[in-house]
């Protein structure tokens, strides 16, 4: 017998979907800024695997060249909306008790490993039918900590004299910029995995992020 189960509260759905375009705008305007000094790379010692840079024609093709001033203006415009939405989300999860389902507990790490093996088809047992399994709890908590990291490293780069204590906490101005950049790469990676998982999990799960409810079979399993 099917039943409708309440899954995501209205507030969390709004925070989630508002965050999506805001984060996209922050990443894009950040790219307009990064264009001016695209110095980072993946490598060991002097051996470089990936240069985090594009050729001049590629920057031009993507229309992300010579737009530093615009990028900064957009970044310092949307940062308020991004920060306020993030703070509102965290405040809500704390006040509503939703954090209990989101923050990892002592079982989450073992469970996350099983989920990982299941996703790789190395383990048959499906993750428990709870709202968030261990892997999700870890991912969704890390992404919030990353957001906090972006706000703090961003503030350190934005006002490095007024917040010089923050700059020294990150190991200097260039280190703060370094962390700010790699956190952004982290969002892009998170986004790709997140979307892949949502597609894999299916429509019922995705729809729950829009309407708030999921259809389940009586036993509690996903229908």
């Amino acid at each position: 017998m099917k039943k409708l189960v309440r899954k995501h509260p209205l507030a969390i759905r709004w925070f989630h979907w508002i965050n999506f375009p805001l984060l996209a705008l922050m990443v894009w305007s950040g790219l307009l800024i990064y264009w001016a000094t695209p110095v980072y790379r993946v490598g060991i010692g002097s051996h470089t695997l990936i240069r985090m840079n594009l050729s001049q024609p590629s920057w031009k093709t993507l229309h992300v060249n010579n737009r530093l001033a615009e990028g900064m203006a957009l970044h310092f415009f949307f940062m308020w909306f991004f920060a306020i939405n993030g703070i509102a989300y965290v405040t809500y999860t704390i006040a509503s008790g939703q954090w209990r389902e989101l923050v990892p507990n002592r079982h989450s790490f073992k469970e996350a490993w099983y989920v990982f093996l299941h996703d790789l088809h190395l383990r048959k047992e499906a993750p428990p039918p709870r709202k968030f399994n261990g892997a999700q709890q870890i991912a969704y908590t890390l992404i919030i900590l990353a957001g906090l990291g972006s706000l703090l490293t961003g503030l350190a780069i934005y006002k490095p004299v007024q917040f010089s204590w923050l700059v020294s906490l990150f190991g200097g101005y260039q280190m703060a910029r370094f962390f700010h950049f790699w956190l952004t790469v982290g969002y892009v990676v998170f986004f790709l995995i997140h979307v892949a998982q949502v597609i894999k999990t299916g429509w019922n799960n995705f729809r729950a992020m829009i309407i708030g409810y999921e259809v389940r079979a009586e036993g509690g399993e996903r229908a």
Partner: protein, 277 residues
């Protein structure tokens, strides 16, 4: 989270006669069918509402973005962006304390040679031997030679010069505090801004008074223990670690105290006028 089904449970059916298993199973099947159909109807209704709301919200968001991108420009930026930069500026000004210093470094951390960037306002025909610094906005017009500047208290500092492009270098500046110059040649009235420009007026910056008065704001005549080279802004330039590099104007020809917000070369190109740290 509530685990209750949205569809209320069917009321229990009173059974009086002997149970016929086949009829019971059929009855159960019908109940389940009715329930599942009701669940499907409910979820369809919720989806219509939810996805319609989502579409309206997405449309509103897209509309807001289009609106933002089509606003009239103010200093090469759509005015809402410029206004928010100004709002950020007033917050930064309120939070600003001259007691907060830009971190200083030991001589071993100095980057040599100091990276060179930008030749705006540096007319190659310039003759440093004829150079004079003019100050406007004082009771009497002031004209100073480099020796006059060097007669003011000498300061040295090793600070980071942060370019708005994202790179930064650690350099040693030698010069005199702008605050010391202003104490000696004060403005006629209390003013909010300082304007500076190159002798050829090819480059110009505007500064808020508290940033200009910061103890690390120097009128510098030496960089990394060498007299300023022509390319680094000889004979006198601004070293202002509470601002991005763009405000560290080279080859200052004129300093003007003013209550009118001064024009600024890069602010006219769409950058933040304040550009402060």
């Amino acid at each position: 989270m509530s685990d209750e089904p949205v569809v209320p449970e069917q009321p229990p059916i009173e059974i009086e006669v002997a149970i016929d298993p086949a009829a019971e199973a059929e009855k159960q099947r019908l109940i389940e069918e009715a329930n599942d159909a009701e669940v499907e109807r409910t979820v369809r209704r919720m989806s219509r509402r939810g996805f319609l709301t989502a579409a309206v919200a997405a449309g509103a968001g897209y509309g807001a973005w289009k609106w933002l991108r089509t606003r009239d420009q103010l200093g090469y930026l759509q005015w809402p962006l410029r206004r928010v930069l100004e709002l950020n500026e007033s917050l930064a000004e309120a939070y600003f304390r001259t007691a907060r210093l830009s971190p200083t470094f030991p001589p071993s951390r100095i980057n040599r040679p100091a990276r060179l960037n930008g030749a705006l306002g540096l007319d190659p025909r310039f003759d440093p031997s004829t150079w004079l610094l003019r100050i406007e906005g004082t009771p009497e017009p002031v004209t100073l030679t480099l020796d006059d500047i060097k007669a003011l208290p000498r300061r040295e500092q090793i600070t980071e010069l942060r370019c708005i492009e994202g790179w930064s270098i650690i350099v040693k500046w030698t010069g005199t505090r702008f605050a010391d110059l202003m104490a000696k040649f004060p403005p006629t009235e209390r003013v909010k801004y300082v304007a500076m420009e190159t002798p050829d007026r090819g480059y110009y910056v505007g500064l808020d008074m508290q940033s200009a008065m910061h103890p690390q704001t120097l009128l510098a005549y030496a960089l990394n223990d060498e007299p300023l080279s022509m390319a680094h802004g000889a004979p006198l330039r601004l070293a202002i670690p509470v601002k991005y590099g763009i405000k560290n104007i080279k080859r200052i020809g004129l300093i003007r105290y003013t209550n009118v917000r001064p024009i600024d070369f890069w602010a006219e190109q769409g950058y933040d006028w304040y550009a402060g740290h």
